[in-house]
Symmetry: C2
């Protein structure tokens, strides 16, 4: 039992989740009396519980640690904002309206009270921005600052958006820009300068709560998730759940001008755009016949289209050359141990 | 800003919660469109959200750490069971039926996979015991094993039990025994032997899920909470929310025979019964005219009665002598730093 193969770091997050899902016997689709579990752990940004009536409840939880999740340059206010935002972005990804946030915070005993108060103000600011509130939590002491947020939301069953639902021919869209947070992290780690706008994408990511609800209500969107693990990982998740492939146009990827200024290497730019996480944008697919219904909802960019599952996930260069998009990006366990 | 008074450890958990509640502007009782927050953070075991219709949703979160919450003698299976049980006990305390559990787990990278699988089996066993399921979660690496559980439940609004609601003249009841987990912890720390039955109370506490629902449905119970912070702290919480006092009969306190065998010191026995936490029993108040409706529901003991708020919380000795029950017990931040 001391072989490397028996340790957590040797198998990676997704393999471990898969093993534990077997133990938890996650009852996806299984009805439990009045409270059906519509979507269980693992397959979407949130678990989904059937409420009596026309609505469902979505719920998600995320644990963040100071050393692994908060760059040293972040202020306590930003740590609080981020802790709320990661969870509220998952609620948005389902097309749901947030209905409450719970924050469990483990605090080193020698932390300044002023630090914790700033952190709380950041949490509160993000909750208010998303028109919800902190409804509960837990406080205790812990060696390293650790914050586990849980967010709840609700949405009409008919408006719920899953990773499943995209069809060949649907258009692929993203909100905002891609690769901004990744470029900011690279700038910090390599001690290069980058614009405030790019740093803000990493330090104060904005959950697309309002955009998500309008997209869900449009009834034109066929699948959706957030891009927090990076665009490539999101495409693979959508592909797996919807059983579609993708053709993504390289030229269409929406990249901040300041990120283009940051690097003159086109490969590095593509690396940021596809393979770095931390952007809390929405990626979604749209029935092309209903495109008009979503175009005025928010700042969105059409980056490609859905193809057949067996054609895989391809990137089309400006010269119409196709290459495979790889299945890699931000994943906590891999990131630390690869 | 380097004075002791500005550090977290100097003010204790309850003072810190109070400061943060001000920042979070917890909207207790404030209606938010269709989703009223019936009970906000701080005043009960769970936050309560109004669902459309006759039901409400209860939700709670708890963060546990290996060094501060799991005695070294615990098995991984027991750590898993405990992590689920603390949250499911909070759901029971509201009279609600659990509808799902989310577990965020931070795992040291060099942990044996077999350890995590045992932990997951313990979580699953407790969820199954309470007739619910793990519906979501989060995994990442962390220096110290940290588990944040979130439990959801639902209950008819008319059956919801709060800490508020007790009236002078109501009877005070508890399920099971009191002080068992505290005696077990003392035995471990002082390396004295104690029966397996007592150790099990600490290592595998049983959430009173089924009993709680029947108590709620009886419509005879006027207030309820769990005793995880100790009987004395629970009495103070009920008193504060219900605006009642208590007269508790020392002779009536239900103590396991093995705990009575463990110590010959009556003061130590009383210390276990009143001032140690870790028992996941229910304490509740009953309308005396409806006592018969609850007596056959579960193993319960009447330990006293509710009095007027200004008479305080008193312990009556077998010789009818009254002493004050103190406001102390298990609280994470104080426990570590006092």
């Amino acid at each position: 039992m001391t072989m490397k193969e028996t340790k957590v770091y040797s198998i990676g997050e997704r393999a471990l989740i898969s093993r534990l899902s077997g133990i938890f016997n996650t009852p996806e689709g299984k009805e439990r009396g009045q409270e059906g579990i519509l979507v269980g752990a693992g397959s979407d940004d949130c678990a989904v519980l059937d409420l009596k009536g026309e609505d469902c409840l979505v719920v998600t939880t995320d644990m963040l640690h100071r050393t692994t999740d908060f760059p040293p340059e972040m202020t306590p206010w930003q740590m609080g904002w981020m802790s709320a935002a990661v969870n509220l972005s998952d609620i948005a990804a389902m097309g749901a309206e947030p209905t409450g946030l719970l924050m469990a915070i483990g605090i080193p005993a020698d932390t300044e009270i002023a630090f914790i108060e700033e952190l709380a103000k950041g949490i509160q600011a993000c909750a208010e921005f998303c028109e919800t509130a902190v409804i509960g939590g837990d406080l205790d002491t812990h060696a390293e600052l650790t914050i586990t947020g849980t967010a709840l939301g609700r949405v009409k069953k008919s408006h719920l958006l899953l990773r499943k639902g995209a069809k060949p021919g649907d258009l692929v869209c993203v909100t905002g820009h891609t690769g901004s947070a990744g470029a900011a992290l690279e700038a910090i780690q390599s001690k290069k300068s980058v614009s405030e706008n790019v740093l803000k994408a990493l330090f104060e990511p904005v959950p697309r709560t309002k955009e998500a609800r309008k997209l869900a209500e449009s009834e034109a969107v066929t699948s959706m998730m957030d891009t927090s693990d990076g665009l490539a990982m999101s495409l693979y998740d959508l592909a797996r759940q919807s059983k579609v492939g993708f053709r993504i146009r390289e030229e269409a990827l929406p990249i901040l001008p300041e990120v283009e200024d940051f690097t003159s290497d086109p490969d590095e730019l593509l690396e940021f755009a596809l393979y770095t996480g931390g952007d809390f944008e929405l990626i979604f697919t749209v029935d092309p016949g209903r495109l008009k219904k979503v175009q005025n909802i928010c700042n969105l960019t059409i980056i490609g289209e859905c193809t057949k599952y067996d054609t895989g996930i391809a990137l089309e260069s400006p010269e119409f050359r196709l290459t495979n998009i790889e299945q890699r990006g931000y994943l906590q366990l891999k990131a630390e141990n690869s």
